[in-house]
């Protein structure tokens, strides 16, 4: 099976700190990593290849940091990678990302299964998967937490609010996966070393026939991005537990939040 995994690099959200005075997020110098569910997507693709054979190609569009970040996907089990790097690709929204990925996938040509995370770790907007399915005009199953492959068909369990929905589709197919689908493996040292020897192709905008004319009409201009103001008392009890719990219970009684 020819499997394509689309991943998004973003700065490590767990390391984002907020500037106290302005409530702005501080992103400078933070490391780039792939998103949590992107890793679930990669893991699921690799497990499928291990079961049925074939290959896994990791595809990602973004800034030049991708040259480093992509090694994580190769260490995680992808056989090869295509990275899309261009000054035009550094700040891209979902419709643009979907367009770039679609062009790259069409250039790769042969695929049976495309796997993405249900949403990115930074924005969690969940647009790229459905948009990509529309552009490529292929079936898509979203919110997948289990897949099985038999008789040239995929059966997938979708985790919906009220139910688990078992859905069947022929290939080619696009799926988006939830965090519950698997526990991504931690690559061994050997896998990390091998990763740098795996083939990586780097394509720019013209390599996938994208011009600025492709990037119009989807304007959503961010005018502000701040952390909400947190006004908390910040009292910390540390040390002798028994005594501290007395203090805590007293404090909560004074606040009037204990009891019914």
């Amino acid at each position: 099976m020819n499997i394509i995994v689309c991943l998004k690099q973003n700065v490590d959200m767990t390391q984002v700190r907020i500037k106290k005075e302005t409530r702005e997020p501080m992103l400078d110098g933070l490391p780039f990593i792939f998103g949590d569910m992107d890793r679930n997507a990669l893991e699921e693709a690799v497990r499928m290849r291990e079961k049925v054979g074939g290959q896994v190609i990791a595809v990602s569009a973004g800034s030049a940091n991708l040259k480093e970040t992509i090694k994580d996907a190769l260490a995680g089990g992808a056989d090869e990678a295509v990275i899309l790097i261009d000054p035009m690709f550094t700040k891209i929204n979902s419709p643009k990302t979907a367009k770039i990925l679609a062009k790259a996938i069409q250039k790769i040509g042969k695929y049976d299964l495309i796997v993405l995370g249900e949403g990115s770790t930074d924005n969690y907007s969940g647009q790229v998967g459905p948009r990509l399915a529309e552009i490529l005009d292929i079936p898509a199953i979203t919110y997948v937490e289990h897949i099985e492959y038999a008789n040239n068909k995929i059966r997938a369990t979708r985790n919906m609010e009220e139910s688990l929905e078992l859905v069947e589709s022929s290939l080619p197919l696009l799926i988006t996966v939830t965090s519950g689908i698997n526990e991504p493996r931690l690559p061994s040292l050997m896998q990390i070393l091998k990763a740098s020897k795996k083939p990586v192709q780097e394509w720019n905008a013209s390599a996938v026939n994208i011009t600025s004319a492709d990037f119009t009409g989807d304007d959503y201009q961010i005018i502000s991005n701040f952390a909400p103001v947190e006004e908390r008392k910040g009292v910390i009890f540390e040390g002798e537990l028994d005594e501290n719990i007395d203090k805590l219970v007293n404090a909560l009684q004074k606040e009037g939040v204990l009891g019914v």
Partner: protein, 319 residues
């Protein structure tokens, strides 16, 4: 004039979106239409009018009986071509959140999913949503001529019903079968729990070592007459608690008087769900855990030692 088209497969959410549309009409020149798809679509129209729809487009095409996102997106797109709205509002359920970008792609529209606020200012539409994993709230202007926004349920208050009727249009859509087939649908074991309404909420995280230890948390919940919520790993990855108890960006947003956080490091994706609590208490072994940055009262200590003591002292203090 802002021409709004509303759709949600969940009626109550469609009514919330209509209620917002009606408010916009009061202050701006606007028109609000709604789409109803599926069985008995036409019979539902009266209720939609009572929440503010001026016009209803409906179809009960048999291919719309079950919700297939590809087919629903196509139906909505064809109705957009009949009604030429500027803004399509969709309820951001999981189904709605797939639908919105699909329609946006067909319609060459800009799309924002999971909106938590919408404002019309100086003829511009400003949409807010969480970003950076929930650390920040961004606001942006949707400038594209075609706009699709999926709105988080319960963002808008349900308006009063009014005995008003409007225009009903049968939308003759031309659809093809979905490329997917739903084989079966298993209802989730539904718990009738509504942690969003809880006055006292205990949130438990990965500091809990095993599922059996939930008994300890339950004992505390009983003492405090509290509901139990959790971080995502406990509900979605380990299935210790039902998904209805997940608190955070992808779960419930709660506003209790007291939120007691046990063994939670304080990742922002979770914090988003407790930000509106009046008082936040955190208990964590790790003094440097980010949870202590957002607590009113933080207790550095092992929850396994602290919780039994806490139960005892609360009981003593009440009696």
């Amino acid at each position: 004039m802002l021409d709004i088209l509303v759709f949600s497969e969940i009626e109550e959410i469609a009514f919330e979106l209509l209620s917002w549309g009606r408010k916009v009409k009061e202050s701006n020149n606007a028109k609000v239409s709604a789409v109803i798809l599926g069985n008995n679509a036409k019979e539902k129209a009266a209720r939609y009018f009572s929440y503010g729809a001026d016009k209803i487009y409906w179809s009960d095409d048999t291919l719309l009986t079950d919700f297939y996102a590809d087919v629903y997106a196509e139906a909505l797109y064809q109705i957009i071509n009949m009604s030429s709205p500027e803004l399509l509002l969709i309820g951001s359920t999981r189904r709605g959140k797939e639908l919105a970008p699909r329609v946006a792609q067909k319609w060459s529209a800009a799309c924002v999913t999971d909106a938590i606020a919408l404002n019309t200012k100086d003829q511009e539409l400003v949409v807010s949503r969480y970003t950076m994993g929930g650390a920040t709230i961004s606001a942006g202007v949707l400038k594209a001529p075609h706009k699709v926004v999926s709105v988080v349920p319960k963002t808008f208050e349900l308006g009063q019903k009014e005995p008003i009727l409007g225009e009903v249009v049968e939308a003759s859509v031309k659809l093809q079968d979905s490329r997917l087939k739903i084989v079966e649908r298993k209802a989730k074991q539904s718990e009738t729990v509504n942690i969003e309404e809880a006055q006292t909420l205990i949130c438990v995280g990965r500091g809990l070592n095993k599922k059996e230890d939930l008994a300890l948390v339950e004992a505390l919940a009983k003492t405090l007459n509290a509901e139990i919520g959790c971080t995502r790993p406990l509900s979605h990855d380990w299935h210790w608690l039902s998904e209805q108890r997940e608190v955070g960006l992808s779960g419930k947003k709660c506003k209790p008087r007291l939120c007691l956080s046990l063994g939670i490091s304080g990742q922002i994706q979770h914090i988003v769900g407790i930000r509106d609590a009046k008082i936040i208490v955190g208990i964590n072994k790790d003094k440097s855990a980010p949870i202590f940055e957002i607590t009113d009262y933080g207790l550095v200590g092992d929850l396994y030692e602290a919780v039994p003591l806490l139960i005892k002292k609360i009981r003593d203090s009440v009696s």
